[in-house]
């Protein structure tokens, strides 16, 4: 036979691994369908909506009609007339942001605003209502101004989200596709059975990694393609840079998956360990919200995590169009995680 026996064994292992993956409906769902659904759902939930109008109530009585008329002119105020008791209740329940009345019997008596200053909507409502009433009373602004709306792709929540979802997906695929799969094979004594053949253990590991790398391109391609075509998420960097970052991320998390799985002999053990490793990164590595929301000290620690490095690098290449070289330190950190975990996993790996 012309092809070398080792190459033949390696290719057979890759083929078997690939078949096992794509014949597992759960794998297809979690790897391809779920991230697409999630990004679509979150894109809808966090779409950039027209600003909410403020809800104002005008107390029944003298001047109520005049106040109401003035407020009707304001574009972002929705005003109604209500009785004293109903207005107080609406304010308490958060159904109204502000209650407007005239404080006394005379024509010169001041307008009174009742509101809960701890609610941001209340402050906005006060500014809008006051502005409308002052204008109606004849105020002229000494300074003219205008605004330009910024809703172009790149600055929306979904643009922030998609690279984070890709990072999260690469992490869980590495953990499940390598970590969980290895423990499952160990429990079923399949690892031991393979060890009893002339198969080279290194070829087996290489096949696991190759399978991860190949599925990475499909997984990332599906999610990024959907986000780009359906949600107009920009891909400003080169595909080479995006692919390079994703590949390094996939390999690094495959290494971490191997490390997590190297000793475990029960599914409970490995899923527990995987959750222990993944949970802090789901929350703290900037998947759904920026790492900058954490206190400075926590940020320093979070930036050392592999998923933080991966997400930051993915955002830089997709949203900012950065090249690979500019992401050097992040990629180095990511690679270091992968190499150390891989070495650890191989060193302590048990076949049975």
């Amino acid at each position: 036979m012309s092809e070398s026996p080792r190459l033949r064994a390696f290719l057979a292992l890759c083929a078997a691994r690939a078949r096992e993956s794509y014949r597992e409906p759960e794998v297809i769902f979690w790897a391809f369908v779920f991230p697409v659904l999630l990004s679509a759902a979150l894109a809808v939930a966090f779409r950039n909506r027209a600003p909410e109008p403020s809800r104002a109530l005008v107390l029944e009585g003298r001047e109520a009609a005049r106040l109401l008329d003035s407020l009707k002119e304001a574009p972002l105020v929705r005003a109604e007339v209500a009785g004293e008791e109903a207005a107080a209740r609406a304010l308490r329940m958060g159904r109204a942001d502000i209650v407007v009345s005239i404080a006394g019997p005379g024509p010169e008596d001041p307008v009174e605003y009742r509101l809960d200053p701890s609610r941001p909507e209340a402050s906005i409502a006060r500014a809008r209502v006051d502005d409308a009433l002052q204008r109606a009373a004849g105020r002229r602004d000494p300074l003219s101004s205008r605004e330009t709306a910024l809703t172009e792709p790149g600055g929306r929540y979904v643009d922030f989200l998609v690279p984070g979802l890709i990072g999260m997906n690469l992490m869980s695929a590495g953990m499940w596709g390598v970590g969980y799969a290895l423990v499952d094979m160990r429990i079923k004594k399949l690892l031991k059975r393979l060890l009893a053949t002339p198969m080279r253990p290194a070829d087996f590991m290489l096949a696991m990694m190759t399978n991860r790398v190949l599925s990475t391109f499909v997984e990332v391609g599906a999610l990024l393609g959907f986000a780009h075509l359906a949600l107009s998420v920009p891909v400003r960097g080169s595909l080479f840079a995006v692919g390079g970052v994703a590949l390094l991320g996939a390999l690094s998390f495959a290494g971490i998956g191997l490390a997590v799985a190297c000793r475990a002999q029960k599914i409970e053990t490995v899923t527990g360990l995987m959750n222990l490793v993944m949970m802090p990164m789901f929350v703290g590595s900037g998947v759904f919200f920026s790492v900058e929301r954490f206190p400075a000290l926590a940020q320093t620690a979070l930036r050392l995590l592999p998923l933080t490095a991966l997400n930051d690098a993915l955002r830089a290449v997709t949203l900012e169009g950065a090249g690979l070289a500019a992401q050097g330190p992040r990629l180095l950190l990511l690679a270091a995680w992968g190499v150390v975990s891989f070495a650890f996993g191989l060193r302590f790996f048990r076949w049975s």
Partner: protein, 315 residues
């Protein structure tokens, strides 16, 4: 056969294996000739699986010497594995792969081997070539596991409890496959706690108990070591003069040994027709009434009981 110039396929000397303070194997020695089917017979936990896993190179021995096909683990591992077929106790093969794909995978590991399709036919799974492993019955899965061990065209085949948990028909199918392999002059090492399996398949047997070999020989030799080929089991009616004890039946003609088991006495005899009449007379003279009497050929089970006082299937 190649590799073992002296015709010895496996040589084990004073093998010991401990797991922490637990000694699973406490000094086992045997030799297996090329072309022989050698059985390790013993109850669960006797150390059979530990012993074969050392022979398969999957476990390191704590002490002792092991030569497989004239070679040693730790030096010629790859070379040995090319020539071994291994069927572990209860391997779960990948459920999502088809039978044919599974065979192709295992075939790919061996430099030289057999045509996977031919092996699939040999184990009677040709109709299932395109079936997923997960859809096979227990017996079919086990035949596939044996087929995976055969596809590398091994000189030496290890079968660890190959029919445990299978229905009688599936067991016979596995036995036929093993017999076919033996007929081609290859060597088989088999562990089992089924005496019928050992008697049917094995040329030679080592009876293993608590990490030691307590008897070794052909099935015939082992049974003959009981002193008689036949067994008479008797029980007496309750309400006789106390309990019937083995000593009460000492010295009867043709009776080689007597021991008590739950509710009855077991006599090993050379000639049942000589023994039965004097036995009945003895019972009558002692005042016991016979409740039941059965005769049968002695089995390896009787050998194990006479050696250890326990049954193979006792947990």
């Amino acid at each position: 056969m190649s590799g073992a110039g002296d015709g010895i396929a496996v040589a084990v000397r004073d093998l010991r294996k401990s797991y922490g303070p637990v000694e699973a194997v406490r000094g086992i020695s045997f030799e297996i000739a090329a072309g022989e089917c050698f059985g390790l017979l013993g109850p669960n936990g006797a150390g059979k699986t530990t012993t074969v896993e050392v022979l398969e190179g999957l476990l390191a021995a704590t002490a002792g010497e092991v030569a497989v096909l004239g070679r040693r683990w730790g030096r010629d591992d790859h070379e040995i594995r090319e020539r071994l077929g291994v069927c572990l106790q209860q391997t779960v093969l990948p459920e999502k792969l088809e039978v044919g794909e599974t065979m192709a995978l295992f075939r790919a590991f061996y430099r030289d081997g057999r045509d996977p399709g031919e092996v699939v036919r040999e184990v009677g799974l040709q109709e299932k070539t395109r079936a997923r492993v997960g859809t096979l019955s227990g017996g079919q899965k086990q035949r596939l596991a044996v087929a995976c061990a055969l596809v590398g065209d091994p000189e030496l085949l290890f079968l660890d409890e190959p029919t445990t948990g299978l229905d009688p028909q599936s067991r016979r199918q596995v036995w036929e496959i093993v017999n076919g392999f033996k007929k081609r002059g290859r060597t088989v090492v088999l562990t089992t706690h089924y005496m019928d399996e050992a008697e049917k398949l094995c040329d030679r047997i080592a009876v293993v108990d608590q990490g030691r070999v307590i008897a070794e020989g052909t099935p015939r030799e082992l049974i003959r070591s009981l002193g008689g080929d036949h067994v008479i089991e008797i029980a007496v009616e309750e309400g006789g003069p106390g309990e019937l004890r083995p000593e009460d039946l000492a010295g009867l003609p043709s009776v080689r040994s007597v021991h008590a088991e739950a509710g009855h006495l077991v006599l090993t005899v050379t000639e049942p027709h000589v023994a039965i009449a004097p036995l009945l007379d003895r019972l009558a003279s002692l005042g016991f009434a016979l409740a039941s009497l059965a005769t049968r050929h002695a089995s390896l089970e009787d050998v194990f009981v006479s050696l250890t006082g326990r049954h193979l299937r006792d947990e």
